[in-house]
């Protein structure tokens, strides 16, 4: 899985690409936690290029969401499609975290 971080205003955009699975999810979790500890706690995870997510990936998203909220921030998700969207829906994550069509929708919210 490729993870690409970028900044837009006080948001950190995390674009994930490929497969978020048992092996790659813990690495992702660690990378995001480092950013949160550095003070980036407003996060947008862009899933538009993610092909696959398993429960390990969901766990890492949940942990990132909890950690950013604990620091007074938030985690928004965008670009869900295909099996990734289905897994979010089946797992109830669509009600747990704010979901947007695109990162522009998050940025334009304010």
């Amino acid at each position: 899985m490729d993870v690409n971080f970028s900044k837009q205003g006080d948001w950190t955009i995390i674009a994930v690409e490929g497969r978020m699975d048992t092996v790659s999810a813990p690495e992702f979790e660690k990378m995001v936690q480092e950013r949160i500890l550095q003070g980036s706690n407003r996060l947008i995870v862009d899933f538009s290029k993610l092909d696959y997510i398993s429960s390990a990936g969901l766990r890492s998203i949940l942990v990132a969401g909890k950690n950013s909220k604990a620091k007074g921030g938030e985690l928004a998700c965008c670009g869900l499609q295909g099996v990734v969207k289905k897994v979010f829906d089946v797992s109830g994550f669509h009600k747990l975290l704010p979901i947007f069509d695109s990162k522009e929708d998050v940025l334009n919210r304010e």
Binding site: D21, T22, S55, L62, K66, G82, V83, V90
Partner: protein, 144 residues
């Protein structure tokens, strides 16, 4: 009824480093049976969840083995995945339901993997036989 046709049988050490290969084998066989792309990902997901549980929890005392068999049925076309380990008993069908409703701070994802398997497979069976966990997942090529 015809016996299912064996597509591939793989036995490996129960290590997460082996997961990708086993999971992608499932995707390949599903593709060869004509499953659509999104369904192939769901099959890979279900297989990964079962295998990851085995790698992470079945052998607390050390390393064990696991085996995966991919089988095909015809008329109607089905992919059958049989996963066997000799670790501690774990009945995926009796696992407690996951928390799907708590707010973010309280939410835990324990049990989510097995829940996804039960939701995504057309049939899931478990048997404890001769000190082994035997899980059979069935995926129908055409869903009603």
């Amino acid at each position: 009824m015809l016996e299912p046709r064996l597509l591939e049988s793989i036995q490996v050490a129960a290590r997460t480093g082996n997961l990708d290969r086993l999971v992608r084998a499932g995707g390949r066989h599903a593709a060869s049976l004509g499953f659509p792309r999104e369904r192939i990902s769901e099959i890979e997901l279900a297989v990964e969840e079962i295998l990851a549980n085995i790698c992470l929890y079945a052998y607390p005392e050390g390393e064990g083995k696991l085996s995966v068999k991919y089988l095909a049925e015809n008329h109607p076309v089905k992919l059958v995945v049989e996963i066997v380990d000799s670790g501690i008993p774990f009945n995926i069908l009796n696992a407690p339901p996951p928390d799907l409703t708590s707010e973010l701070e309280q939410r835990s994802v324990g049990g989510l993997g097995v829940y996804l398997v039960r939701e995504l497979a057309d049939a899931a069976e478990y048997e404890r036989s001769e000190s082994m966990n035997v899980v059979r997942l069935v995926f129908n090529a055409v869903t009603e």
